[in-house]
Subunit: 354 residues, 2 copies
């Protein structure tokens, strides 16, 4: 029996999309493929609110995090860290031989525009990496305020990991001046994992030309060469592109604002319950609309709860890393509906006797 996933990825995938995954393959250098590519990219541009090019990568979002570092960091980057995925991006910068500094805050805290301004004033950076929504702590950073600060500085490329937010929360790439906005498929875009996409600005492409040692597989110049032929560098996950293209139809049919509101409503419902019975883990300023991380104030056994939920064909997530059992995580991403959250909460209440 399938367990309904309330975890921060992979998320639930609707039956119609699973059927797309089962379609026979086509050649990736064929006209049919190029049409599929163009159609998918043009719909993605709407969801990204951008006129920039959108590259399709046969990798997870982590792969595109490495791509941003290899293509966009020449002198030194600044990593804004509020949890595991921010730490990972910093590690990626260092392991690729780049100079990198960071702003690091305590778990549950988020990145403030003030701290970014202070750091940018004190040092010289040519790129800045922000994890928009940190799934290890449930922190969503105030990207509009942070963007306003970053855009005051010249020649600082703004790179955003929106893996667990894009498609569930409004991120207007062009308006925010985001140079590279990357995401993957298995979160708010609600398709199976195995594909990642990113928007890339003209100035990021220009920067890329000048950065040495970019490699091949994640080289933006190679991406660009194939993009211009409506193709990908190597054989892409065609099944996931079928799925993505079709899911984008559902997303645009629902309407982006409606989709964002649905995520907000699900988040508010989950937070209300969390505050009634437990407490929120992140500071209020940083509450996320795609994931609720709950402080386990009652000392419940989260693993036990999850086992009992499994008997009811549902799954939530324990806390991440050191936050295991101290927190637990309920995701409300993608195609989940308020009714799903109500059902989940009802069953959790029943199990815990709340």
């Amino acid at each position: 029996m399938h367990r309904k996933l309330f975890i921060p990825g992979p998320t639930e995938v609707r039956d119609e999309i699973l059927k797309e995954m089962a379609k026979p393959l086509i050649g990736h250098r064929s006209k049919d493929f190029s049409e599929l590519f163009l159609s998918t990219v043009s719909k993605l541009k709407k969801v990204f609110y951008t006129e920039n090019k959108i590259f399709i990568s046969s990798s997870s979002g982590t792969g595109l995090m490495e791509a941003t570092i290899r293509n966009c960091v020449s002198e030194r980057c600044l990593n804004l860290i509020c949890g595991h995925f921010g730490e990972e991006w910093y590690k990626i910068a260092l392991s690729n031989g780049k100079n990198a500094d960071c702003v690091r805050v305590e778990p549950g805290d988020g990145i403030t525009p003030e701290s970014v301004r202070e750091k940018l004033d004190s040092g010289s950076y040519d790129a800045i990496c922000l994890t928009h929504n940190e799934t290890s702590t449930g922190v969503m950073n105030p990207i509009y305020e942070i963007a306003e600060v970053i855009n005051r500085y010249e020649d600082v490329l703004f790179m955003v990991d929106s893996v667990s937010s894009l498609g569930g929360v409004k991120i207007e790439v062009d308006k925010l001046g985001i140079d590279v906005c990357l995401t993957s498929s298995q979160k708010c875009l609600a398709i199976p994992p195995g594909i990642a996409v990113c928007s890339v600005s003209e100035r990021a492409l220009e920067r890329s030309k000048k950065v040495r040692n970019r490699g091949y597989y994640f080289d933006f110049q190679t991406f660009l060469k194939f993009y211009e032929k409506s193709q990908t560098i190597s054989t892409p996950p065609i099944s996931q592109i079928y799925a993505l293209n079709k899911e984008l139809d559902y997303i645009l049919e629902e309407g982006l604002e409606n989709r964002f509101n649905r995520h907000k409503t699900m988040a508010e419902y989950t937070r209300k319950w969390a505050l009634e019975h437990f407490d929120m883990f992140p500071k209020e300023r940083f509450w996320s609309n795609t994931l609720t991380v709950i402080k386990n104030t009652k000392g419940i056994k989260v693993d036990e709860l999850n086992k009992k939920l499994a008997e009811r064909n549902m799954q939530i997530s324990n806390g991440y890393g050191e936050l295991k059992e101290k927190t637990f995580r309920i995701a409300h991403m993608g195609d989940l509906q308020l009714e799903d959250m109500k059902e989940l909460i009802m069953i959790i209440n029943e199990i815990l006797g709340l």
Copy 2:
């Protein structure tokens, strides 16, 4: 209508495997996933004839080509080039800032053990890259003879791109002393694209530790860390792992020797026809068992032929790059049967009036 693919990837995928692609997702940090991972890896070891570790990568084969370079080349590598994919690997070495030399032969020619010996005698290399089966020219290199030469030299890591051969031709990784053997899913393994796998020897892992600037996404040490937990670095293409695991059952049920013989029989049948009406493009010593590249001695219009084949729901490949129209390519990979080849050839004969 779906066109049956006689192209060198993606190849035909059987219905039962397409159904696996449509299965609902599971968490990639769950016990269920670890069981799936272990089961898949243990079956892959049989197909690779190895006791080495097998890493699963969320990328195409090209991604793992980059991985070999970043992890295994410290001083200088030697690239054996007999076509496009060999050239690409060389480009990957250079674009990752590595020193690299090459042995390069004319299209249609293959790599000889003698040329490898000569080069290894004349220079100092710590790694050597061989494209086992070159799909741009239909050349299959004599890997057993080449391995014998390479194994006489100490500290030279032997890295093999078996993307278009593994699973269709016998490659005994351990017996051949292959340090990294990489392949992807959409060729002889006959599942949809979006996943790549490689075996990695202990000495390749040791080398990796000492090589600087390995990055993160393709770092063998990171792969290893997660391998030991029966997990992957980041969210993997779970659907393709379902498919791979199931297809490996079909492969082992058929029997590896039977599978290799079936590929040989299909190749012989196709070559016989090619020699009767056209000519073979590669030199006889290098004829491939997974792909036949035919010299277009009759000056037929390959694009026209493919259009007419499309009406009959079939597809072959034109020549690669500059060999377009001068050659054409018929793949016989994965789960195709002799009957499929007979049907294809019958229809081509009908179209061309042969």
